[in-house]
Symmetry: C3
Subunit: 473 residues, 3 copies
């Protein structure tokens, strides 16, 4: 049986002198509270505070990073407990969660060199106190140990939240969500700060499933005529204000491209009329999304919500998988993204507003040094979000710092956010970011490009202050 140990020096640079510097920097940040300003955990967990069911349903079936790797090596989704959509044929036989876990355990070598392995090992060792490696031989031990632990008080969502030293955690909801769990949380008296974020894609993207139905729901919630452009904008204003009252400090926009537009009133009205018909052209849909980004920036300037833009994912690339299992099963693929001409209309209108805060993310690393660092290093309104999704990894973070710092500096970036629905992995993800940033800073110190005291100050900024400031938390 092989031991599972997390080495104290993991992820630090190998050179002994640089490692020593990194270690010292890390001591100053390892215990700082976690600021998690952008993510996808379920607020129901914290509102209800019910125990998680078992190892498989908590750690395997909902994790699209894990699903995609196993699927890529020929493991059927059904065998991992992923349920086909209602009506999809053939129906899937029910899966024993333990059997699914065994498949995962015996395939765990596939994750060598991946961030999933880092996060999961942390969860196993630090959260559950397991001291042997996951593999076929230890599958049942893991399953039983984790599933039993989950029944205890220490593993209830609120207990974990506190144990993880989370200062604030943002979830993400749609404008047509009534935020019952956030309301319940506010009423509960629990001290944990779980806030929402305004993610309007379902009522902004004419190609979103059920767009027109969503507009109807939006009308019902706001009393506005959401089939008139003016009413539609008013409805946004009202929901943004409501989200703000539920703690939101930010909005989030997940568009296929970074295209923005700044249409005149009449042109915008005419476009809105076209995209609220049953059939919408791809060009109109794109133009509407583009225009609304600029509209949203204008509203952010009014109400102070920080604006996040997450472009460049080709959603549901695999039509067979999508037909059977639906969204978020690991089949979203990054695409090349143009920020220079894409963001220009928005920036031309609002980019010079120092009171506005727009945080841009990318899945296209080739834009770091060429486009994003130069843009963020010039426009007062623009900041760079951390390495995202596929790039939320040790090498991804290193490339982010190596390719953005020289042009944008550190202070046009916003610290780390975990962007995850895998609640238990949140501390692991922040820990990876802190270690990698300390390693990067240590390298600068070792090359005499930065003083020790500057690096120590920066380490705290990157781990804590920048996120708090950028997200107005």
């Amino acid at each position: 049986m092989r031991k599972l140990e997390l080495h104290d020096d993991r992820l630090f640079p190998a050179d002994p002198a640089v490692r020593a510097i990194a270690r010292t920097l890390y001591q100053g940040v390892r215990s700082l509270p976690i600021i998690s300003p952008h993510g996808h955990t379920d607020p129901a967990w914290f509102a209800g505070n019910e125990p998680f069911a078992n190892a498989t349903e908590l750690l395997l079936t909902p994790d699209h990073y894990v699903l995609r790797m196993l699927y890529s090596q020929g493991v059927p989704m059904e065998s991992l407990g992923v349920l086909p959509l209602p009506g999809s044929t053939p129906a899937a036989a029910p899966v024993d969660p333990r059997a699914a876990w065994r498949i995962f355990a015996s395939s765990y070598h596939l994750f060598r060199g991946t961030p999933s392995r880092l996060w999961l090992d942390w969860v196993f060792a630090e959260s559950f106190g397991i001291d042997r490696r996951l593999e076929a031989a230890t599958a049942d031990h893991y399953y039983d140990h984790i599933t039993t632990a989950l029944q205890g008080a220490a593993f209830r969502p609120r207990a974990l939240f506190e144990r993880y030293n989370i200062e604030v955690l943002a979830t993400t909801e749609s404008p047509i969500d009534e935020l019952p769990h956030h309301k319940a949380l506010q009423a509960s008296g629990w001290k944990g700060r779980v806030i929402t974020a305004y993610r309007p894609d379902p009522v902004v993207d004419p190609e979103f499933e059920g767009f027109l139905d969503n507009l109807e729901l939006l009308a019902a919630l706001t009393g506005e005529d959401t089939l008139s452009y003016r009413g539609y904008l008013n409805a946004h204003r009202k929901r943004r204000a409501f989200f703000k009252s539920m703690g939101a400090t930010s909005t989030d926009h997940g568009h296929p491209t970074a295209q923005t537009a700044d249409l005149g009133e009449r042109e915008a009205e005419a476009l809105f009329a076209r995209v609220t018909r049953p059939v919408v052209s791809a060009a109109d849909a794109e133009l509407f999304r583009a225009h609304i980004l600029t509209v949203m920036a204008g509203m952010s300037l009014e109400d102070g919500l920080v604006m996040q833009i997450h472009p460049g994912s080709f959603r549901n690339h695999n039509p067979q998988l999508f037909a059977r299992f639906g969204r978020d099963k690991g089949a979203d693929i990054p695409t090349r993204t143009d920020y220079v001409s894409g963001l220009r209309p928005l920036l031309a209108r609002f980019g010079n507003q120092p009171g506005l805060s727009i945080i841009v993310f990318t899945l296209d690393e080739s834009s770091y040094a060429r486009e994003l660092a130069p843009l963020a290093g010039h426009y007062p309104a623009l900041k760079l979000g951390p390495a995202w999704w596929f790039h939320d990894s040790p090498e991804g973070m290193r490339r982010f710092r190596l390719q953005t710092t020289e042009t944008a500096g550190f202070y046009n970036t916003v610290g780390f956010n975990d962007d995850t629905r895998a609640f238990l992995s949140i501390p692991a993800r922040h820990d990876v970011a802190r270690r990698i940033d300390c390693g990067f800073l240590a390298q600068l110190v070792a090359e005499h490009r930065l003083e020790d005291r500057e690096a120590a100050e920066l380490a705290v900024d990157l781990a804590y202050n920048l996120a708090k400031r950028a997200y107005r938390l």
Copy 2:
């Protein structure tokens, strides 16, 4: 006179602790047999087993890496023994191979920092036992030493094959090749495993020189009416079966882009009719290539041949050079390549088949982390070929691992292949790959991201098992 020595630690990371780990890993793989599942050596060498002529004709004139560098610095092709095409004017005076070699020797400093230098020094030192550096002063010594050695039994192709410990070597042939050398090899009783691979570009690409003539030859070889779409597909099936009987386990497709298409029967027939006319539009040619890739994937699913796609080379970028000397003289230039939308039609049709194996290569490194690793880390049918051509180099390999591993893992890659016509450099190329991979693994171990025993297992997988498995050898 300067000594030529290959240092035992060459290409390992500089940090002493990491280097020590790399060294240990390398000891476990340095002597493994060579699996060479994709390359361009001439099967006639092994069938005929005749001696190579001299240093220049073996090592200089056919090596497009070497030609391009010398040409870029103003050395005329003719002076290196490259013959103009018949009819090209002015006619070139015959070149003394020794004179060509002297030019090469006195320009050898141009190769500092390039992989050609690594490969050639290995050939000089390890294969020929030369102990001084190549430069103007040693040009004749080299020429004489090598040319004399080549006459001995130890330097016949089969002897080198055995001495190089090659377990299997694939060449690449066109469907209209009758594979006489492979037949002769099968009949010869020699134990060396030299197999073919099915490279149908000359009968798939309507813009290939002599496309219609090639279809005629294909008809003659198969008895099919290759001007009917149905007959054309049958002819492919027959030639694939024949290639399989000659040992082939794979096909290879060298398209200008990664575009695929999945046309309906009627549409495909109509397109085929258009591309078999004397004048073909660029759009039709591209669409036909795109469609046939999907057709070939379907045939691979039937006959089990592994499918390789090598896109993104702008062939013959230099029209003056092409007019005088023809193809493969170092004037092919990589282009930006879109895999996400390009491969989608094929993957939508066949990407979920775990029984299908498609290996994709790229000349566009910006696609590693953004497109290829995410695609291969999801689709069961897709694997990533190693760093290719211009990127078959120490830094190219490092970037490949650094940018693909976190998302695709190691097991969606297929080990190394040398892709070369420079037979004598094959062991050098595999040795570079083994050293770089061991260095990469050592780095992961040193950063406590991988255990020693895992790294040791992976080193063997990357050097030997993965290629054998992926190519079904």
Copy 3:
């Protein structure tokens, strides 16, 4: 108060063994004269040899790297002494240069990790002998110390030129510049070699402000009818000859893309007629720029001027800033650039001429390994300029070497050039390049890919010989 010290080992690799090699290599190049073949200093400085006014006007207000960073963090341009364009409203109150300097000083932490910090610290410590760090508390000390020093003889432009050991410095002028300062310099008897370079954008780009007026001025200077295509070309020839007589060895072309074209005589004449009308289409403007690049290459073949191409900057991305302050305030943003098809018409015509020297730069690092190194490693006429502008930085230079050397080698690159208008930073910039190149070479030596003596030779080539040779100085 914190000490300002430049560490002797700054920017060298951290590993002690590699660092020791780098240190030795650097000893061989640190004192070599500076070749500055491309830049934007003002020839009036050297012609007039008047003292610089004060710290702010010398080091802060004209430095677009510094302005952009401060502006990105909300510092108004006006507060830094940047004057709005005449007629821009509201008018700006005059700014006390000391007040501007204090803002800069108190924001100096923003530059952590940027090359500006490296360059400025060098200027402070090495040129002015300041021994404490710039921060709010030392702002006045800096301002007074620098401003006083500037009044002394040692800080006159010519004295600095000599103290900096500059062997040759090229400025950049337009064809309609009469080069009064270069004439004065020639007449002055001063030994410093300050030459011009031919930058014809104002008379080549139909979208340049005042294009038609510029053609008129060009006509006046040359006696040619610059509204006829033939007269226009003759005017270029005459001005190129005049620039050559003023020391120029090169031309420079700053186009939005790398597109070239090679039109027939008639087509070119017709296009010229269209672009010399008051309204010009974007497509015609682009085609004209593209065609003239090929024309300029032809003229370079005649007159021997080295041709530089600097494509891929989206100029004046921020329309509000441009309207108020004009050009060159830090709002130019790099764009994706296609060299493979873009340069092909020019290279097809002239790329095989070893007597022609074309130096290409890029702001799109994704083209290094994929496009530029393969092109420069093949075409005799093509060489690669150093890492440019946003990439003129330690990491930018490392990426340049790591991504170009294996395919293009060292000898298809042209050494370093500083490309700056910040005169005092010139030695700092060359020092950074020398340190990074020595570090890169040291890495190759440590990995046993290069011998010590080769690295030593290369270090001198990269720091001195290559620039001198490539620019024919």
